[in-house]
């Protein structure tokens, strides 16, 4: 009896939609969950009209095209159109640059480094005994001794043993003296620690790679030109050139869960970025991690940066702006790491309208040869543009240390005042590896 009843009820449902709730209630319990196929095609805005709804519809279709495309095509579609954009320089000398860059990249800053005691490695100075049980203190000391001799040899080679060369030309000191020393340091450390961290055996080490990222945040009105009066997103591009970086085929584990970033504060700056000063140019939009898509090492591990020659600590201290030293280093760390992690995320197919499902994590060491600063970054969200959901509570997180002195000076063929704490941090950074799930 059910079948004839059901069919009559089914036809009733179609014919008598305007009946009272009672009948609908009875009908609803019996009706199947599958709605009937529509009798007419969906009503959508026009594709060719010059109306707001048409433009919005076309925009959404373009977004759907991007969503449906493969990763390489996605990148091409997102970076296809060239427009004027702000060039965000990681190595900037603008005052209070870290507030600006945190605003552009929606990054919150937490002083100090995240707790990575669950990943195996040499513990920090105050927790040598508290390191993982399989790491013996003697082993620790042997490793540290090896690292110490490696660092002092690399340093002395450039500062002492290499035959008297002419003093490097203006603004070439970093390139001729500091960069070879840091290169030897990184090479030596990665080879030395590869036994303990097998991920470094599979890693790819780039020297002077290009790292680029392009994104939009906020809106403005185009002031002049043939597009005058239109609402335009504010575009940014970072073109970074770290000294060297280590890329790995597996992703590093997150430092903290994404939800913990909900309560953090990100500085908001209402003034135009031109006031920073930041300058606009129009050229190719690039999104690049250091290698193209087919390269198997798609995730980042650690970057090493050498500060520019124009960055003078002593001069800033004399001008009573000693705090700007840390501010500028922090801005550098924030922008470089956001650029790298953002590019890594886009290589996996995430973008502003398809936000991350897992956080991307990378580390950076910024040095001028004597002072080392360590930064860790966790990218939680790429949804910074105005068409992404506005109530996105996620923020990106930057952890960083102050600049720590590695050694006091070099005299008579030996290094005076080599700091073990900095060496331990270096080792800890390189020993970071994904936690086994």
């Amino acid at each position: 009896m059910a079948a004839p009843t059901r069919s009559s009820l089914h036809s009733l449902l179609h014919r008598n939609v305007r009946f009272s709730g009672g009948i609908r209630r009875i009908l609803h319990t019996e009706a199947a969950a599958v709605p009937p196929p529509p009798a007419y095609p969906p009503m959508v805005p026009s594709l060719t009209a010059n109306s707001k709804s048409s433009k919005r519809y076309r925009y959404e279709l373009r977004v759907e095209n991007v969503r449906a495309a493969a990763v390489e095509e996605k990148l091409r579609l997102l970076t296809r159109v060239q427009r004027k954009k702000y060039m965000v320089l990681p190595q900037t000398l603008a005052r209070n640059a870290d507030q600006w860059y945190q605003c552009f990249t929606k990054t919150a800053y937490i002083p100090g480094l995240p707790d990575t005691s669950s990943s195996s490695g040499v513990g920090r100075t105050e927790e040598v005994e508290g390191s993982t049980p399989d790491q013996l203190p003697q082993d620790d000391e042997d490793l540290l001794g090896e690292v110490r001799s490696l660092v002092s040899h690399a340093l002395l080679q450039e500062h002492w043993y290499l035959e008297q060369r002419k003093r490097p030309a203006l603004y070439k000191y970093q390139e001729h003296v500091v960069e070879p020393y840091v290169r030897n340091l990184v090479t030596g450390l990665t080879s030395c620690l590869a036994t303990r961290n097998p991920l470094l055996l599979l890693a790819s080490r780039d020297l002077k790679p290009e790292v680029n990222f392009y994104w939009t945040k906020g809106e403005t009105i185009v002031p002049r030109g043939h597009r005058r009066g239109r609402v335009d997103p504010i575009r940014f591009q970072i073109d970074d050139k770290p000294h060297s970086q280590i890329r790995i085929p597996k992703q590093l584990s997150q430092f903290v869960p994404m939800e913990s970033s909900y309560g953090l504060e990100v500085p908001e700056i209402k003034i135009s970025p031109d006031m920073m000063p930041l300058f606009k140019r129009q050229y190719d939009n690039h999104i690049f991690t250091g290698a193209k898509l087919p390269d198997p090492a798609r995730y980042g591990h650690t970057q090493f940066h050498v500060v520019q020659d124009r960055f003078h600590r002593n001069r800033l201290t004399k001008l009573n702006q000693a705090d700007q030293v840390e501010v500028l280093l922090r801005a550098h760390g924030c922008s470089s790491l956001f650029c790298w992690t953002g590019a890594q995320a886009m290589y996996q197919g995430f973008w502003s309208r398809e936000d991350l499902t897992r956080p991307f994590v990378s580390q950076a060491v910024i040095t001028d040869g004597q002072f080392f600063s360590f930064f860790c970054y966790q990218l939680n969200t790429l949804a910074l543009s105005t068409d992404a959901p506005a109530d996105n509570p996620r923020k990106n997180i930057l952890w960083g240390t102050e600049s720590l002195r590695l050694y006091e000076r070099v005299e008579e063929g030996r290094v005076v005042g080599l700091d073990d704490g900095v060496l331990r941090l270096l080792v800890q950074f390189l020993m970071n590896k994904p936690r086994e799930a």
Binding site: E146, H153, A154, Q157, W160, Y161, L162, E163, Q164, R165, H176, P180, R183, N184, T187, G188, T190, S191, C192, A194, T195, L201, S204, R205, D206, L207, P209, E210, N212, D284, H286, F288, A291, K292, P294, D295, P296, G413
Partner: protein, 390 residues
């Protein structure tokens, strides 16, 4: 006639007149300045030759302070500033400089491209060449203990990365490509440090400067300057040719290439310090022994060496490094070494890898007879076949 046509004819007539005016003389630029016509300035006439007759003093127009036809041009001594200013320093002529020597010295540096290539390098360094690397080296390469996990795939990835994936452009420039390739391959090799701890006892020096000088026949030769990357080690390389082979090289006759002189293409200088010998490092450097030299070719865009010249450069710099170290170990006196000093070299121009193993057996290079040094050269195949590149 229509007034417009008449006007046009008149204007046409004036144009014809102008053309005739311009075609009068090719050098006459009537009413028009020379730059507007786009022609270069006429060449200056040559100054008159000054004739000096000893005993006769020329009468000049110097006293008159203006040119007088018939009188000679006065010659004034050069004005000297009273003080030293580095912006306006004039170097004295070579003969008055402190390092001047009558005898010329022939220099070889990293940009020298010698005509006869390997033959000339062998003559200059008194070396006997063996094509093909020694079997001990080849067996080291083929032994499974020295293989990296997934070696073929990883080397392919390294080459692809250096050639295609490194930059946002389609093809990176050759200087980037060569250096990246070398450094990536070195990093791949250093991953064997777990099983071969001796790899950790080495240090790479990037901008080291070398000087080595020796007498060959009647000429003095020097090798100077930066050349490439140097991997130094705490322990010396063991020689691969035993004593018997070394003694057999006495019978080898060095190939000459008359009528070409062996000093062709070498830079000549009269300002040098003879017997100057430096390894590039001072003091008690912890890595005193040279292990391998790496030459990324193509870094200097204006000076790209062909493969024979690249091999010659490898031999010369290996020899210079070995000679400088033999000098520190055994002294300056020319002698046959009991313990030969060995250096290796690897050079690449992006397409091919050139390899060399140099063994310095003697520092007595003045005479053409006696024990010779030895070099084994080898070549790895092409890294990329351009025809199959997408």
């Amino acid at each position: 006639m229509i007034p417009e046509a008449r006007q046009r004819l008149r204007s046409g007539a004036t144009l014809l007149n102008d053309l005739r005016l311009f075609s009068v003389h090719p050098r006459r630029q009537l009413n028009v300045s020379r730059p507007l016509l786009g022609r270069a300035a006429a060449p200056r006439p040559r100054p008159r030759e000054r004739v000096e007759i000893p005993g006769l003093e020329p009468i000049t127009y110097g006293a008159r302070s203006h040119y007088v036809p018939g009188l000679a041009k006065p010659v004034y001594p050069r004005w000297e500033m009273g003080h030293k200013d580095p912006r306006f320093y004039r170097s004295p002529p070579h003969q008055q400089m402190a390092l001047y020597k009558e005898k010329a010295c022939y220099l070889f540096n990293q940009r020298t491209s010698i005509l006869e290539g390997v033959r000339q390098a062998l003559w200059l360094t008194k070396t006997k060449q063996t094509t093909g690397l020694p079997s001990q080296l080849l067996s080291l390469a083929e032994s499974s203990a020295n293989q990296i996990a997934d070696q073929d795939e990883r080397v392919m990835n390294v080459i692809k990365h250096a050639r295609f994936w490194e930059m946002t452009e389609m093809e990176p420039p050759q200087e980037n490509y060569c250096s990246t390739l070398l450094h990536s391959l070195l990093q791949l090799c250093s991953s064997l440090q777990a099983s071969h701890p001796v790899l950790g006892k080495r240090m790479l020096a990037e901008k080291y400067s070398l000087t080595a000088s020796w007498n060959r026949g009647e000429d003095l030769f020097q090798v100077r300057g930066q050349n490439g990357l140097l991997l130094s080690s705490t322990t010396p390389l063991p020689p691969l040719a035993d004593r018997q082979e070394v003694e057999e090289t006495e019978n080898h006759v060095l190939e000459t290439f008359y009528p070409v002189s062996p000093t062709i293409d070498l830079q000549t200088t009269h300002l040098y310090s003879p017997d100057r010998m430096t390894t590039g490092f001072c003091g008690d450097y912890p890595y005193p022994h040279a292990h391998t030299l790496y030459f990324p070719e193509g870094v200097d865009r204006r000076n790209r060496l062909r493969p024979p010249q690249l091999r010659a450069k490898m031999i010369m710099f290996c020899f210079a490094n070995a000679l400088a170290r033999a000098h520190t170990l055994y002294g300056a006196a020319p002698q046959t070494l009991d313990q030969p000093v060995c250096v290796q070299a690897v050079a690449t121009d992006g397409q091919n890898l050139q390899l060399a193993f140099f063994q310095l057996n003697t520092t007595d290079l003045q005479h053409h007879h006696g024990v010779k040094n030895q070099v084994s050269t080898g070549r790895a195949g092409r890294l990329i076949d351009r025809r199959h590149v997408l």
